[in-house]
């Protein structure tokens, strides 16, 4: 088990003896009659790269701004290192923020932007130069030190913003959609760079994003938010493989959701009757369900095998007709219409060349999957 694994896995949230760096305790934030954050409890640990993920207006930015000190909670408490942060103004918090717009001071050079926070700390003057140099090196900006923000590219600006917010070595770094302004290719490179820098400095990062791919790539844990509440907090794999609700399953990646009535068959298995006359889906349950309860069966497209013949090694085998094929290069997504009318997406890697592809439109195919391939959700 854990002891047998020589490489220690970073998972402080599983250790009851670990004290969290940040603790939200029943935090509520209201703007007039609108509740942005609703009675929220959350622990974030030292050294984590924590992602707050959700659609715009879900309260993730408000949560972050409360950590930085730009908003005060209407109710509840926020603890940072066992200190209640409520009375501390933003300029005294050991927390720094990287703004979505970068908020680089246009009248100052890159060097002065990075030194800005240091000059306002009690760091001696001669040390400031060294620290700025170190930050420039970390973000590979040495040759741009004398430029003004409008004289460098978008990616460089993003790195200046990061260097500036890291310069004071904060206990906690907040990143508000840090890669939102970059194009896709640059964004992917920068994601790895961010992870690298987080690892090198050991700073706790909290990132706000609406891009699920970005959250999955960079984070140790992801919190999915909706309407001011946390829906699920788990590792990226946990969120993807075992979502706790249809909302999370649907928000992260592609998924097929099939609604049906549960019929537990013992030993942690369940049959789900989803259509008249069709064989029920055999699945494994995570949480107890009662006979006849309405449940949702969620399965990722890549977990479904598409073949000419049913696959006898898999517990579920259903016949359908290919309705649509989306060729994406490395993979193809098949939209298959079942005899009962449901539309199911299935993905297969394109190991062979296109000309020798097996199926085409209107072909009859068998979809097969194991009884552990999907999850059974009750909400």
């Amino acid at each position: 088990m854990a002891e047998a694994n020589p490489q220690k896995v970073f998972a402080p949230w599983e250790d009851p003896n670990q004290a969290p760096l940040i603790r939200f305790e029943g935090v509520t934030k209201k703007f007039g009659t609108f509740t942005a954050v609703d009675d929220l409890n959350l622990d974030i640990y030292r050294g984590e790269f924590f992602a707050l993920l959700g659609p715009s207006g879900c309260g993730k930015t408000t949560l972050m701004r409360m950590l930085a000190g730009f908003e005060d909670p209407t109710m509840g408490k926020i603890w940072l290192d066992d200190v209640d942060v409520a009375p501390i103004p933003p300029n005294r918090r050991p927390v720094n923020m990287m703004f979505q717009s970068y908020a680089l001071f246009p009248h100052l050079t890159v060097w002065d932007n990075i030194a800005f926070g240091l000059k306002r700390s009690d760091m001696p003057k001669d040390k400031i130069g060294d620290r700025v140099q170190e930050m420039l090196r970390l973000t590979r900006l040495e040759q741009f030190a004398k430029r003004k923000p409008h004289q460098i590219s978008g990616g460089q600006r993003q790195r200046v913003a990061l260097a500036r917010s890291l310069a004071k070595a904060p206990k906690l770094l907040l990143l508000d959609e840090p890669l939102g302004a970059l194009d896709k290719k640059l964004r992917q490179e920068t994601q790895f760079e961010l992870m690298d820098i987080q690892e090198k400095t050991g700073t706790t990062f909290v990132i706000v994003t609406h891009d699920q791919e970005e959250a999955m790539t960079v984070a140790t844990r992801v919190a999915v938010m909706d309407h001011g509440k946390l829906v699920q907090v788990a590792t990226p794999a946990g969120i993807y493989e075992t979502p706790n609700s249809v909302y999370v399953a649907d928000f992260i990646g592609e998924v097929n959701i099939i609604e049906g009535a549960a019929a537990p068959t013992g030993d942690g298995k369940v049959d789900i009757a989803f259509a008249e006359g069709a064989e029920p889906i055999h699945a494994t349950i995570g949480e107890p369900v009662t006979a006849g309860q309405k449940v949702f069966f969620a399965i990722r497209p890549e977990k479904i095998h598409v073949g000419r013949e049913p696959d006898p090694t898999r517990a579920n085998r259903i016949r359908g007709k290919v309705h649509d094929i989306a060729y994406l290069g490395n993979i193809s997504t098949y939209r298959v219409e079942l005899e009962t009318g449901q539309m199911i997406s299935a993905q297969m890697t394109n190991a062979r060349r296109l000309s020798r592809r097996d199926f085409t439109w209107e072909d009859e195919v068998w979809l097969s999957w194991t009884d552990t391939a999907g999850v059974v959700l009750t909400r």
Binding site: G69, S101, A103, R147, H150, S165
Partner: protein
């Protein structure tokens, strides 16, 4: 859109700008007329400029105007910038609507009413009229213009810049001093120039607010031109037009160059 212009457009531009500039050109032209009669050309001469330089009354009035202009526009810039900051960043406070009303009302208030009301105030509180009261009056109406100029800059200002300064350890005052102020400086400067021009230009309010010992240049000019055209006033007008034109053209050239340089730098920045 680089199409050639129709004859109609060329004509309206020509006539329009002729209408705007011809009267001033004529004024400048006749300021070099040797004749006392303004409408009869009697050869080139700069004698009216010479006489102007020896006219102590005009020189005194010009000196008063200049002092009033510098003092009132400086005070108006400080007060107007404060007011703009309060309007845009002040949040909610008691009487905010009244405050913004008092900022915008002087912009549309007829000068005769502003002047009259200030004079009645000065009399009511027993303040002797002189340079000081003109400065008070000019500060009051030009601070509203300054605050409009500055607040329009503040509104387009990315709020997260101030938040970033706070986040990096600035106190609110420090954030204003080291981030907000440097960025809004161009707007503050144009506010000052506007206030200064308004002060130099004002006849009506100054007439109400001034005492016998403090005549400004516009008051002097007004009482002179009421009697008709005079070559001395033509010379004075030419000097004033010259100063303004030089100032405006220089600043527009400077800002044009600054914009070009910035564009070039941006271009170089994106290449790297």
């Amino acid at each position: 859109m680089n199409r050639s212009m129709s004859w109609f457009n060329v004509t309206s531009l020509t006539l329009g700008f002729a209408f705007l500039y011809l009267p001033m050109m004529i004024l400048i032209f006749y300021s070099f007329n040797a004749s006392k009669l303004v409408t009869v050309w009697a050869g080139f001469s700069t004698k009216w400029y010479g006489e102007l330089l020896h006219n102590k009354q005009f020189l005194d009035a010009a000196w008063v105007t200049l002092r009033v202009g510098v003092m009132s526009s400086t005070a108006a810039t400080i007060l107007g910038t404060m007011a703009a900051y309060v309007m845009v960043r002040g949040g909610r406070f008691f009487g905010r609507t009244l405050f913004s009303g008092m900022i915008y009302a002087p912009l549309v208030m007829p000068e005769v009413i502003t002047g009259l009301s200030l004079l009645l105030l000065f009399i009511a509180i027993g303040l002797d009229r002189g340079i000081f009261t003109i400065v008070l009056a000019h500060t009051t109406f030009s601070m509203c213009y300054v605050s409009v100029v500055v607040s329009s800059r503040l509104m387009t200002f990315d709020r997260s810049l101030e938040e970033a300064a706070l986040d990096l350890g600035c106190s609110p005052f420090d954030a204003f001093k080291s981030v907000t102020l440097p960025i809004i400086t161009p707007a503050v400067i144009s506010g000052w120039l506007l206030a200064f021009t308004l002060s130099l230009d004002d006849l009506v309010i100054a007439s109400f607010a001034s005492g016998p010992s403090s005549t400004t240049l516009p008051i002097k000019i007004f009482s002179a031109v009421r009697l008709g055209v005079s070559p001395e006033i033509n010379a004075l007008s030419t000097i004033m037009i010259g100063i303004v034109a030089t100032g405006v053209i220089t600043t527009s050239l400077i800002s044009k160059n600054a914009i070009r340089r910035q564009r070039q730098e941006e271009l170089e920045g994106t290449k790297l």
